[in-house]
Protein backbone atom coordinates (compact mmCIF):
# COMPACT_ATOMS: atom_id res chain seq x y z
CA UNK A 1 0.00 0.00 0.00
CA UNK A 2 3.04 2.24 0.05
CA UNK A 3 2.79 3.22 -3.62
CA UNK A 4 -0.94 3.91 -3.93
CA UNK A 5 -0.61 7.65 -3.71
CA UNK A 6 -4.05 8.30 -5.23
CA UNK A 7 -5.74 6.11 -2.60
CA UNK A 8 -3.69 7.62 0.21
CA UNK A 9 -4.40 11.20 -0.81
CA UNK A 10 -8.09 10.52 -1.36
CA UNK A 11 -8.32 8.90 2.06
CA UNK A 12 -6.71 11.89 3.69
CA UNK A 13 -9.13 14.18 1.88
CA UNK A 14 -12.19 12.06 2.68
CA UNK A 15 -11.60 11.38 6.36
CA UNK A 16 -12.41 14.85 7.80
CA UNK A 17 -15.71 15.22 5.89
CA UNK A 18 -16.76 11.68 6.91
CA UNK A 19 -16.06 12.41 10.58
CA UNK A 20 -17.77 15.80 10.38
CA UNK A 21 -20.79 14.20 8.75
CA UNK A 22 -20.88 11.60 11.55
CA UNK A 23 -20.91 14.37 14.15
CA UNK A 24 -23.67 16.14 12.23
CA UNK A 25 -25.73 12.94 12.11
CA UNK A 26 -25.10 12.43 15.83
CA UNK A 27 -26.13 15.85 17.06
CA UNK A 28 -28.70 16.73 14.39
CA UNK A 29 -30.63 13.50 14.91
CA UNK A 30 -33.38 15.40 16.76
CA UNK A 31 -34.13 17.48 13.68
CA UNK A 32 -33.34 15.27 10.70
CA UNK A 33 -32.80 11.62 9.95
CA UNK A 34 -30.04 10.03 11.95
CA UNK A 35 -29.03 9.38 15.51
CA UNK A 36 -26.42 7.69 17.61
CA UNK A 37 -26.47 4.36 15.80
CA UNK A 38 -25.90 5.75 12.31
CA UNK A 39 -23.39 8.31 13.58
CA UNK A 40 -21.35 5.64 15.36
CA UNK A 41 -21.21 3.53 12.22
CA UNK A 42 -20.21 6.46 10.00
CA UNK A 43 -17.53 7.55 12.46
CA UNK A 44 -16.23 3.96 12.47
CA UNK A 45 -16.19 3.97 8.65
CA UNK A 46 -13.61 6.77 8.73
CA UNK A 47 -11.32 4.58 10.86
CA UNK A 48 -11.96 1.52 8.71
CA UNK A 49 -11.04 3.49 5.59
CA UNK A 50 -7.85 4.62 7.32
CA UNK A 51 -7.04 1.01 8.26
CA UNK A 52 -7.63 -0.27 4.72
CA UNK A 53 -5.17 2.21 3.25
CA UNK A 54 -2.57 2.74 5.98
CA UNK A 55 -2.63 -0.66 7.69
CA UNK A 56 -3.69 -1.87 11.13
CA UNK A 57 -0.47 -0.87 12.91
CA UNK A 58 -0.92 2.82 12.21
CA UNK A 59 -4.67 2.53 12.87
CA UNK A 60 -3.97 1.02 16.29
CA UNK A 61 -1.81 4.06 17.03
CA UNK A 62 -4.85 6.31 16.36
CA UNK A 63 -7.38 4.06 18.15
CA UNK A 64 -5.44 1.93 20.65
CA UNK A 65 -7.14 -0.99 22.39
CA UNK A 66 -7.09 0.78 25.75
CA UNK A 67 -9.32 3.47 24.21
CA UNK A 68 -11.73 1.40 22.11
CA UNK A 69 -12.42 -1.48 24.52
CA UNK A 70 -13.41 0.66 27.55
CA UNK A 71 -15.47 2.93 25.29
CA UNK A 72 -17.61 -0.09 24.28
CA UNK A 73 -18.79 -0.21 27.87
CA UNK A 74 -18.73 3.56 28.44
CA UNK A 75 -21.58 4.17 25.99
CA UNK A 76 -23.87 1.62 27.65
CA UNK A 77 -22.91 2.97 31.08
CA UNK A 78 -23.68 6.54 29.96
CA UNK A 79 -27.08 5.40 28.73
CA UNK A 80 -27.89 3.46 31.88
CA UNK A 81 -26.38 6.27 34.00
CA UNK A 82 -28.85 8.79 32.58
CA UNK A 83 -31.60 6.47 33.82
CA UNK A 84 -30.06 6.34 37.29
CA UNK A 85 -29.75 10.15 37.38
CA UNK A 86 -33.43 10.57 36.50
CA UNK A 87 -34.28 8.16 39.31
CA UNK A 88 -32.08 10.13 41.73
CA UNK A 89 -33.89 13.32 40.70
CA UNK A 90 -37.22 11.75 41.57
CA UNK A 91 -38.48 10.54 38.21
CA UNK A 92 -38.93 7.09 36.77
CA UNK A 93 -36.03 5.24 35.10
CA UNK A 94 -35.15 7.04 31.81
CA UNK A 95 -37.89 9.65 32.39
CA UNK A 96 -35.99 12.69 31.08
CA UNK A 97 -38.62 15.23 32.21
CA UNK A 98 -36.82 15.81 35.52
CA UNK A 99 -33.37 16.48 34.01
CA UNK A 100 -33.89 20.23 33.46
CA UNK A 101 -36.16 23.01 34.67
CA UNK A 102 -38.84 22.29 32.03
CA UNK A 103 -39.87 18.85 30.79
CA UNK A 104 -39.13 19.72 27.14
CA UNK A 105 -35.58 20.83 27.95
CA UNK A 106 -35.14 17.74 30.09
CA UNK A 107 -36.27 15.52 27.23
CA UNK A 108 -33.88 17.28 24.85
CA UNK A 109 -30.91 16.85 27.20
CA UNK A 110 -31.81 13.25 27.96
CA UNK A 111 -32.12 12.31 24.28
CA UNK A 112 -28.81 14.02 23.49
CA UNK A 113 -26.96 12.10 26.23
CA UNK A 114 -28.60 8.80 25.44
CA UNK A 115 -27.84 9.11 21.72
CA UNK A 116 -24.24 9.99 22.60
CA UNK A 117 -24.06 6.76 24.60
CA UNK A 118 -25.39 4.74 21.66
CA UNK A 119 -22.94 6.43 19.29
CA UNK A 120 -19.95 5.77 21.56
CA UNK A 121 -20.74 2.08 21.97
CA UNK A 122 -21.46 1.52 18.28
CA UNK A 123 -18.28 3.32 17.18
CA UNK A 124 -16.07 1.49 19.69
CA UNK A 125 -17.56 -1.94 18.92
CA UNK A 126 -17.28 -1.51 15.14
CA UNK A 127 -13.68 -0.29 15.29
CA UNK A 128 -12.68 -2.99 17.81
CA UNK A 129 -14.20 -5.82 15.79
CA UNK A 130 -12.66 -4.63 12.53
CA UNK A 131 -9.21 -4.11 14.02
CA UNK A 132 -9.43 -7.49 15.76
CA UNK A 133 -10.13 -9.18 12.40
CA UNK A 134 -7.36 -7.33 10.57
CA UNK A 135 -4.81 -7.47 13.39
CA UNK A 136 -5.30 -11.18 13.82
CA UNK A 137 -4.62 -11.81 10.16
CA UNK A 138 -1.36 -9.89 9.92
CA UNK A 139 0.10 -11.49 13.04
CA UNK A 140 -1.07 -15.07 12.90
CA UNK A 141 -1.32 -15.95 9.23
CA UNK A 142 1.68 -14.06 7.84
CA UNK A 143 3.82 -17.17 7.43
CA UNK A 144 1.01 -19.61 6.74
CA UNK A 145 1.85 -22.29 4.17
CA UNK A 146 -1.18 -21.88 1.88
CA UNK A 147 -0.68 -18.49 0.31
CA UNK A 148 -4.01 -18.19 -1.50
CA UNK A 149 -5.84 -17.23 1.69
CA UNK A 150 -2.89 -15.18 2.82
CA UNK A 151 -3.35 -11.93 0.93
CA UNK A 152 -4.32 -10.17 4.12
CA UNK A 153 -7.47 -8.34 5.12
CA UNK A 154 -6.10 -4.94 4.20
CA UNK A 155 -5.09 -5.89 0.67
CA UNK A 156 -8.09 -8.15 0.09
CA UNK A 157 -10.61 -5.58 1.24
CA UNK A 158 -8.64 -2.74 -0.30
CA UNK A 159 -9.02 -4.24 -3.76
CA UNK A 160 -12.78 -4.15 -3.39
CA UNK A 161 -12.75 -0.46 -2.67
CA UNK A 162 -10.06 0.55 -5.12
Amino acid sequence: MRLHSVLRTTTKLLMPPIMLFALYVQFHGDYGPGGGFQAGVIFAVAFILFTLIFGPVRARRVAPAWVTTPLCAAGVLLYAGVGLVTMALGGAYLDYDVLAHTPLHGQHLGILLVELGVGLTVWAVMVSIFLAFVGRDTGALADEADTDTDTGADTGAGDGHA
Binding site: Y31, G34, Q38, E144
Partner: protein, 206 residues
Protein backbone atom coordinates in the same frame (compact mmCIF):
# COMPACT_ATOMS: atom_id res chain seq x y z
CA UNK B 1 -42.76 5.70 9.80
CA UNK B 2 -45.83 5.21 7.62
CA UNK B 3 -45.55 6.40 4.05
CA UNK B 4 -47.19 9.81 3.78
CA UNK B 5 -47.79 9.66 0.05
CA UNK B 6 -48.09 13.16 -1.33
CA UNK B 7 -49.38 14.10 -4.77
CA UNK B 8 -51.91 12.52 -7.03
CA UNK B 9 -52.31 9.35 -9.01
CA UNK B 10 -49.19 9.77 -11.17
CA UNK B 11 -46.97 9.92 -8.09
CA UNK B 12 -48.52 6.75 -6.73
CA UNK B 13 -48.08 4.99 -10.07
CA UNK B 14 -44.46 6.17 -10.26
CA UNK B 15 -43.84 4.89 -6.75
CA UNK B 16 -45.33 1.54 -7.67
CA UNK B 17 -43.06 1.25 -10.71
CA UNK B 18 -40.01 2.07 -8.57
CA UNK B 19 -41.14 -0.52 -6.01
CA UNK B 20 -41.51 -3.20 -8.66
CA UNK B 21 -38.12 -2.40 -10.24
CA UNK B 22 -36.36 -2.46 -6.86
CA UNK B 23 -38.03 -5.72 -5.82
CA UNK B 24 -37.16 -7.29 -9.18
CA UNK B 25 -33.52 -6.27 -8.73
CA UNK B 26 -33.54 -7.75 -5.21
CA UNK B 27 -34.88 -11.08 -6.53
CA UNK B 28 -32.21 -11.16 -9.26
CA UNK B 29 -29.43 -10.39 -6.76
CA UNK B 30 -30.72 -13.02 -4.32
CA UNK B 31 -30.80 -15.71 -7.03
CA UNK B 32 -27.28 -14.73 -8.15
CA UNK B 33 -26.09 -15.04 -4.54
CA UNK B 34 -27.50 -18.56 -4.30
CA UNK B 35 -25.98 -19.66 -7.63
CA UNK B 36 -22.48 -18.23 -7.19
CA UNK B 37 -19.71 -20.27 -5.57
CA UNK B 38 -17.22 -17.39 -5.36
CA UNK B 39 -17.77 -16.00 -1.87
CA UNK B 40 -16.02 -12.72 -2.72
CA UNK B 41 -18.71 -12.01 -5.33
CA UNK B 42 -21.43 -13.13 -2.92
CA UNK B 43 -20.26 -10.60 -0.32
CA UNK B 44 -20.30 -7.83 -2.90
CA UNK B 45 -23.80 -8.86 -4.02
CA UNK B 46 -25.04 -8.86 -0.42
CA UNK B 47 -23.83 -5.25 -0.18
CA UNK B 48 -25.80 -4.43 -3.31
CA UNK B 49 -28.82 -6.21 -1.84
CA UNK B 50 -28.58 -4.02 1.28
CA UNK B 51 -28.31 -0.90 -0.85
CA UNK B 52 -31.44 -1.94 -2.79
CA UNK B 53 -33.39 -2.51 0.41
CA UNK B 54 -32.16 0.88 1.67
CA UNK B 55 -33.61 2.43 -1.49
CA UNK B 56 -36.81 0.53 -0.76
CA UNK B 57 -36.96 2.16 2.70
CA UNK B 58 -36.45 5.59 1.11
CA UNK B 59 -39.46 4.95 -1.13
CA UNK B 60 -41.40 4.05 2.03
CA UNK B 61 -40.34 7.42 3.56
CA UNK B 62 -38.47 5.56 6.32
CA UNK B 63 -35.27 7.57 5.91
CA UNK B 64 -33.89 6.69 9.34
CA UNK B 65 -34.12 2.97 8.62
CA UNK B 66 -32.72 3.51 5.11
CA UNK B 67 -29.78 5.38 6.62
CA UNK B 68 -29.03 2.53 9.00
CA UNK B 69 -29.40 -0.12 6.33
CA UNK B 70 -27.06 1.73 3.96
CA UNK B 71 -24.43 2.38 6.63
CA UNK B 72 -24.54 -1.03 8.35
CA UNK B 73 -25.75 -3.47 5.70
CA UNK B 74 -23.99 -2.05 2.66
CA UNK B 75 -20.98 -0.59 4.47
CA UNK B 76 -19.77 -2.20 7.69
CA UNK B 77 -21.21 -5.68 7.13
CA UNK B 78 -19.56 -5.93 3.70
CA UNK B 79 -16.18 -4.88 5.07
CA UNK B 80 -16.43 -7.31 7.99
CA UNK B 81 -17.42 -10.15 5.63
CA UNK B 82 -14.39 -9.36 3.46
CA UNK B 83 -12.23 -9.45 6.60
CA UNK B 84 -13.69 -12.88 7.41
CA UNK B 85 -13.04 -14.12 3.87
CA UNK B 86 -9.41 -13.06 4.15
CA UNK B 87 -9.14 -15.36 7.18
CA UNK B 88 -10.97 -18.32 5.61
CA UNK B 89 -11.70 -19.43 2.03
CA UNK B 90 -12.88 -17.53 -1.02
CA UNK B 91 -14.60 -20.45 -2.71
CA UNK B 92 -17.64 -22.26 -1.42
CA UNK B 93 -17.29 -26.05 -1.38
CA UNK B 94 -19.51 -27.69 -3.99
CA UNK B 95 -22.59 -29.17 -2.30
CA UNK B 96 -22.89 -32.93 -1.90
CA UNK B 97 -25.19 -34.42 -4.49
CA UNK B 98 -28.45 -35.36 -2.83
CA UNK B 99 -31.96 -35.56 -4.18
CA UNK B 100 -33.47 -32.07 -3.80
CA UNK B 101 -37.07 -33.31 -3.48
CA UNK B 102 -37.44 -33.08 0.32
CA UNK B 103 -35.89 -29.57 0.63
CA UNK B 104 -38.01 -28.45 -2.32
CA UNK B 105 -41.17 -29.75 -0.66
CA UNK B 106 -40.30 -28.01 2.63
CA UNK B 107 -39.63 -24.71 0.85
CA UNK B 108 -42.80 -24.91 -1.22
CA UNK B 109 -44.99 -25.71 1.80
CA UNK B 110 -43.40 -22.95 3.90
CA UNK B 111 -43.73 -20.44 1.07
CA UNK B 112 -47.36 -21.38 0.47
CA UNK B 113 -48.10 -20.99 4.19
CA UNK B 114 -46.48 -17.55 4.23
CA UNK B 115 -48.41 -16.40 1.15
CA UNK B 116 -51.62 -17.76 2.70
CA UNK B 117 -50.81 -15.78 5.85
CA UNK B 118 -50.41 -12.52 3.95
CA UNK B 119 -53.89 -12.85 2.41
CA UNK B 120 -55.43 -11.63 5.67
CA UNK B 121 -53.10 -8.67 5.99
CA UNK B 122 -54.18 -5.12 5.11
CA UNK B 123 -53.27 -3.83 1.68
CA UNK B 124 -49.89 -2.24 1.00
CA UNK B 125 -50.01 1.40 2.18
CA UNK B 126 -53.56 1.13 3.53
CA UNK B 127 -54.12 4.06 5.96
CA UNK B 128 -56.80 2.04 7.77
CA UNK B 129 -54.32 -0.71 8.66
CA UNK B 130 -54.20 -1.51 12.40
CA UNK B 131 -50.57 -0.44 12.66
CA UNK B 132 -51.54 3.11 11.66
CA UNK B 133 -54.47 3.19 14.10
CA UNK B 134 -52.74 1.92 17.25
CA UNK B 135 -50.10 4.18 18.89
CA UNK B 136 -48.84 6.03 15.80
CA UNK B 137 -51.55 8.76 15.87
CA UNK B 138 -50.79 9.42 19.52
CA UNK B 139 -47.07 9.84 18.81
CA UNK B 140 -47.81 12.17 15.88
CA UNK B 141 -50.26 14.27 17.91
CA UNK B 142 -48.52 14.42 21.29
CA UNK B 143 -44.78 13.94 20.80
CA UNK B 144 -44.10 17.62 19.84
CA UNK B 145 -45.68 18.66 23.17
CA UNK B 146 -44.34 15.82 25.31
CA UNK B 147 -40.83 15.27 23.92
CA UNK B 148 -40.11 18.05 21.47
CA UNK B 149 -37.78 16.97 18.64
CA UNK B 150 -39.19 17.55 15.14
CA UNK B 151 -37.88 14.12 14.12
CA UNK B 152 -40.47 11.87 15.75
CA UNK B 153 -38.43 8.77 15.05
CA UNK B 154 -35.85 10.09 17.50
CA UNK B 155 -38.59 10.84 20.04
CA UNK B 156 -39.94 7.32 19.79
CA UNK B 157 -36.53 5.62 19.82
CA UNK B 158 -34.84 7.58 22.58
CA UNK B 159 -37.75 8.61 24.79
CA UNK B 160 -40.95 6.57 24.40
CA UNK B 161 -38.99 3.38 23.70
CA UNK B 162 -35.94 4.27 25.77
CA UNK B 163 -35.83 0.81 27.37
CA UNK B 164 -35.75 -0.89 23.96
CA UNK B 165 -32.88 1.27 22.76
CA UNK B 166 -30.97 0.62 25.97
CA UNK B 167 -31.46 -3.09 25.33
CA UNK B 168 -30.26 -2.75 21.74
CA UNK B 169 -27.15 -0.88 22.82
CA UNK B 170 -26.45 -3.61 25.37
CA UNK B 171 -26.84 -6.24 22.64
CA UNK B 172 -24.28 -4.42 20.46
CA UNK B 173 -21.91 -4.19 23.42
CA UNK B 174 -22.33 -7.87 24.30
CA UNK B 175 -21.88 -9.02 20.71
CA UNK B 176 -18.78 -6.87 20.27
CA UNK B 177 -17.17 -8.16 23.45
CA UNK B 178 -18.00 -11.75 22.48
CA UNK B 179 -16.33 -11.36 19.07
CA UNK B 180 -13.28 -9.72 20.65
CA UNK B 181 -12.94 -12.55 23.18
CA UNK B 182 -13.28 -15.21 20.47
CA UNK B 183 -10.72 -13.62 18.15
CA UNK B 184 -8.16 -12.72 20.80
CA UNK B 185 -8.41 -16.20 22.37
CA UNK B 186 -7.51 -17.90 19.10
CA UNK B 187 -4.59 -15.54 18.50
CA UNK B 188 -3.09 -16.18 21.92
CA UNK B 189 -3.35 -19.95 21.61
CA UNK B 190 -1.71 -19.80 18.19
CA UNK B 191 1.20 -17.76 19.42
CA UNK B 192 1.86 -20.11 22.30
CA UNK B 193 1.95 -23.26 20.17
CA UNK B 194 3.82 -22.11 17.11
CA UNK B 195 5.10 -25.48 15.77
CA UNK B 196 1.70 -27.21 15.74
CA UNK B 197 -0.05 -24.27 14.21
CA UNK B 198 -0.70 -25.69 10.76
CA UNK B 199 -2.96 -28.47 12.03
CA UNK B 200 -4.66 -26.23 14.52
CA UNK B 201 -5.59 -23.54 12.06
CA UNK B 202 -7.18 -26.14 9.85
CA UNK B 203 -9.16 -27.33 12.86
CA UNK B 204 -10.21 -23.81 13.70
CA UNK B 205 -11.58 -23.33 10.23
CA UNK B 206 -13.95 -26.22 10.43
Amino acid sequence: MPAAAPGGRTDAAMEQIIDIVLLAFMVVVAIAMIRLRNLYAVVMLSGIYSLLSASMFVVLDAVDVAFTEAAVGAGIATVLMLGTLALTFREERPPKRRTPLLPLAVVVVTGAALVYGTLDMPHYGDPEAPIHQHVAPRYIADSPLEVGPPNMVTSVLASYRGYDTLGETTVIFTAGIAVLVLLSGVTRRRQRRRPARGDESREARR
